[in-house]
Every structure is written in C-alpha cells, then in structure tokens.
Symmetry: C2
Amino acid sequence: MATPAQALSGVTPEALPTPSLLVDRARLARNIDRMRTRLATLGVPLRPHVKTAKCAEITRLMLAGQPGGVTVSTLAEAHDCLDHGITDILYAVGIVPAKLDAVAALVADGAHVTVLLDAPATARDVASRAAALGLELPVMIEIDSDGHRAGLRPDDPALVEAGRILDAGPGTRLAGVLTHAGDSYQCRSASALEAMAERERVCVVGAAARLREAGLRCPHVSVGSTPTALYATRLDGVTEVRAGVYVFMDLVMAGIGVCSVDDIALSVLTSVIGHQHERGRMFVDAGWMALSRDRGTADQPIDQGYGLLRAPDGGPTPDAPDALVVTATSQEHGIVTARDGAAVDLSRWPVGSRLRVLPNHACATAAQHAGYALLDERGRVETYWPRRGGW
Amino acid sequence: MATPAQALSGVTPEALPTPSLLVDRARLARNIDRMRTRLATLGVPLRPHVKTAKCAEITRLMLAGQPGGVTVSTLAEAHDCLDHGITDILYAVGIVPAKLDAVAALVADGAHVTVLLDAPATARDVASRAAALGLELPVMIEIDSDGHRAGLRPDDPALVEAGRILDAGPGTRLAGVLTHAGDSYQCRSASALEAMAERERVCVVGAAARLREAGLRCPHVSVGSTPTALYATRLDGVTEVRAGVYVFMDLVMAGIGVCSVDDIALSVLTSVIGHQHERGRMFVDAGWMALSRDRGTADQPIDQGYGLLRAPDGGPTPDAPDALVVTATSQEHGIVTARDGAAVDLSRWPVGSRLRVLPNHACATAAQHAGYALLDERGRVETYWPRRGGW
C-alpha cells in the first residue's frame, strides 16, 4: 500500500501528514556506531534484536561489521529477515510445540532458526515434535539472571536435565544458554549498570560451565539488554550480545542514564489541534494510538508523561526546553502541559503548528505505526521504511 | 497479505496461531442489539464510531437499522468506509487546515465529510483553506460538557463567533454542535451515568439554542460515549448519538457497570510458554504487543492488571473464575498470577495450553492487531476480518 510518506520523499517534514513516525538518520547512525565500538572493545559480536525497529533496512545497518545473525521476538520478524536474505535467526521467546510447524516452514525456506525454552518437560515435547517434523533444531536454554521473567537459575538441577534431553535429540541439539537482564531497566547509575552486566555474565557463564561439567556441549553463551551491553566492563565467556532499543534510544534509556535526550532518533511528528486557554494547555493529534500507552518513565526521577515535546526540527522547544510533556492521552488526542504544572504559552503554538514527541519506550511507540519517515542530515524526508508487525 | 487466520477458517481456535485476536459473533450481535434497542426507545439514531473496530464488516453490522452515517477518528478510517460504500462520514477529531487537502480528496471520491473544530481562529483558517479547495464543508463545533478534553463551554462568546464565521462561508457551513462526555468513564453507578448523560445533553442542546438565538442554523446536535448512550433517560433536542466501544465492550466498561464481563466480545488467544514454580506464576505469549499497555482498570475498584484470563472456550477459568490476571507484561511476555497474590495451580496449565485474555480497553487491544478471527456460535473460526489502522 502506498503511504503518504512514500509520496512525499524529498520534501521537508512540514509536508508530512500528522501523526507520522520520524527517524533521524544521523542519530540512528550515531547510536549504531556507539554499540558497535563498545562491543568491538570487549571483543564480542552483536546479534541485534530486530523487535524494536522491525524494519529490514534498519536491521542491515545494525548488522554492519557483525557476523550476520539476528534476534527476533516473532515469527513475522523471522519471515521478514529471511525475505531480506538474513538466515541466522534466534527466536528468543519461549517456544511451544505448536509453533514448530511454522519454524519448519522457515527452515524449509532456508533459515537457520534457533529456539528457546526453559524446562525439561518443554524440552521433551519440543524434541519430540521437532523429530516428527524432520528437524534437528538448535535450542538455547533460558537462564534467569535477575528474577525478572522466565528462565532457570544456573544452579537448578533442571538445567542439566533439559540440556541432556536436547542433546539426546534426535529432533534437537543443545545450542547454548541465553539470558536477558531485564531488571537493568531499574538501574539508576553507571556503577549499578556495570554490576548488573557482571551479574548477567556470571549467571550465564556459570550455567554454561555446569552444562559442560555434565559432559554437554554448550557452544553459545548469549547475554543482552541495551543497558548491560553498553555498561559491561568485561564479557569473558560470552559469545554474543543481543540488544535492540539502542538503535533508537528513548526517554526510559535517558532516564537510566544510558543516553542523552538528544540521542533519541525516533519521534512522532504532530500538529496542534486545539487550545484550552483557561488551563493553559493544548491538544495535539498524537494520542495513545500514535504514542502508545507506555508510561515507562512514570517511576523514574523525571516523569515524561506520554512523551517529551521537541520543536519541529528535533531541538528543544523554545522558551521551555525539556519542559513540555504529553500529560494525558485519549485515542487521537494528546494533552500538552508544562511538566511543572505551569501554563503553556499558547501564543507560541497556534492551531496547525507542528511539534515532535520523543517516546518513553521506542519499541512501544514504533509498534503503533506502519513505518518510518527517514530524515536526512538536513532534516528532509529521505525515504519511507516499512515495519513488519504481527506474529 | 494472506494471514494464518484466513487459512484456518472453519477450524477450532486451538489451531490458530498465538497470540490471535478473537471476536465472538454471538456477543458482538448481542452488544449491537442492545445499543440499537436502547436508542430506538429514546427515538434517536446512532452514528456508530468506527474507531474501536476499524473494520468494514463490523461497521456494517453496527449500521443495521440506522441512517447510514459513521463517525471516524482518522482519515484512514474514512477511506476504508468510502471503499465499502459508506459516504456520510463525520471526522470527529479537531481539524487543521493542512488536513483539508486529504478531506477534499475524499469528497472528490464521493464522500460527504463533516469536520470538527472549537475556535473562531480555526474556523477562519479552515473556511479560507476550504474555499481555496472549492469545498463547501459542513463543520460541527465541539462543545465541552465535562472539562474532559477539547471544546467550547456553551456560554463561551467564542461559540457564536465561530458559528458566524462558519455560516458566512464560502468554504464552510455550520452543521451543528457535538460533545463527548469522556468523563463518563469515571462514573461508578447507574445514577451517576444517568446524570452524566443528562449533563451532556443539556450542554450541547444549550449550545445549539445559543447558536439559533443568534440567528444561525444548527441542524445537528450530536452526543456520545458508550456509557452515556446506554444510560441516557431522555435525548430531547439531540439528533444523533455516537458510540464505539459498545460493539466489543471491555473490562473498563464492566468496571463502570455498563456491561458484565460475559458481554465482552473481544479477547486475545494466548499460549502458556513457561512456568515459574517458586512464585506460582506462569508466562503467556501475550505481552503488551498483543494486549496493549492500557491499564484502564488500574483506578477502578477491581484492578484487572493487563487483562483477565478466560478458558479457551471463553468461559471462566476452572477453579479460579475471574481470579487470574496478566499482572505484568514485556513485549511478547505476559506474567499471569492470581489477583489476590495466591499462587496459580500451574499443573492445570502446562506449557502449550491455551487461554484467552479479556482486554481492559477494547480500542487499545484491537489496535495491536491486523484483524479479527471471528468465532461462530459453536466457537469455530468463521472467517477473518481485517482492520484498517494508520492515519
């Protein structure tokens, strides 16, 4: 389907419809370079997570100088990668046997798919179904390094039990261990991030050691989250790092201290559609449909509401830099106020004027849109890049 | 694009991929009948809001027995309606002049589009741009009946001023007044809802009277919100009612008391993908990507987390009816616990078993999906209905 943004390539963002999702190429490139440089220093390759951008063109940029494998969170992302010639795919959400027919279809089309699980019973069911489908499926075991979500603790006897089942095959083979330090999003200092990265490393390297002590091969040891990837001081024993949100960065990452607000490459272009003079607030056409309902900064020291306002060129808003936020949303309305409760100078923002909104959580905001208007270094629309949503 | 659900028509939901968005035809029909019957009793036609379902097939069901006009929240919805032969379209989000080129394109394709604004300056700019485009655009003035969002108070002198500008044309004509009692979502009793509906009516009918006293025509007087539409006891002076979420209903509506949990026609089919035995909780493959980040029940007497669990057939979960909720989400993971903090009986829900999640907010959850798997009265997949997202 042709999009308005496609038709408008080469124009200034002022001619884009609103709301539109914008990506600044210069900030995108800077964020990608920063992660590449950081991991090169530590001597570990990146397996970028495509779940944030879900866009083949952006995945290609993330893969520059890397071995070429990716991480996905949906089978739709896997199909999109394969459609664009990327074959080494780690599907990093716990697998269930019913999804193996879809995995087999990807494999038949040339993909090398690795799946994830965290229990002996699941390993047994997956091995059985994979064998019936004629697969010899590489499987990672998920390790819980922070109590955040799924995974086995490294000292759980179920780890070696699951490893033995996967190793015995015939439908599976043990590919390694994987962890995600989701709790790193709760860190508030560089030293806390460094400690979290080290804890993530120690847990998963320890789990690999236990499997190897049991006589099992454990070739891959995978860690990942944007904060720990950027703050790890050593990655001994780790074979790959996964990260996704670093490509855009967002207000949650800025709140943790992982980036500055000026590093955020993703924004939603919006129009002022109304004023409420007696309360000194204004309405924009970016509601939760365009911004998402994510309130990830609500528990951070600086609550950014549903997003921080920027001028149309991406710089701070005049007179009130870093002070205007989307305080409330309905489906297609955002209510803009000053963060400190002071009235907005509405005369600066007549109905029809444009603003940008920086996202709390890039993954969530990007998910509300079908694609990206890419802005070049002069701020002109360079092209339109579609996203691949769904499952 | 072919979807898995399309390929699976006629099968049981067990064969659908997860997560998938389900609609129960029987509940859908019941909700539509209820609104139709209620408004027929009050003698006022419905202009259904398509923003909830964004699906032409569902819009057709909502339009049965009604004049045929719809309400939209985006130009994409307007295009989808026009593609399906629906021409009377009210675009009920404040217009800006830059969007009038797109409106003119719809009009050129045969649509009768009415737009909305709430300030004399905007009326002037819209009239000027509409005239330049050769339009004679019907315009509604938005009235603020509850301080919830946009609109003019009925006693604001700007109301008659805006009316005169629109009436003078040549690009515009005054079509009427419109209000949305968004604050009705805060009501907690039938009497509060009745009072809110009456306040909505009095405000907008009063605004129409002021315009008429000033010698202006004000043919249309439009009110709407699902709670006030269902609880209004009289609608004298009102010419149409707008409502959208009633078609699916959701946990927020159940929390207000507008429907029962069993009336909710929309759910997300999900698979159990893991267990955390020591905490008695389980993981499902419906995270915020499938459910949305909406926490609309957080401030209600019963907090439903990110959604209430149902058995695969849509009935209450065995042993723990109305007690299991999605307590936390990441992108593709939902964490399920008992609402009272008690451990879930994980033996009942092995990895790979299926559940449904009822949404807090139907508009937000549906927005995360490309379409609906429609279930017939026997619970089999009848067909797949696509949604029209974007702007």
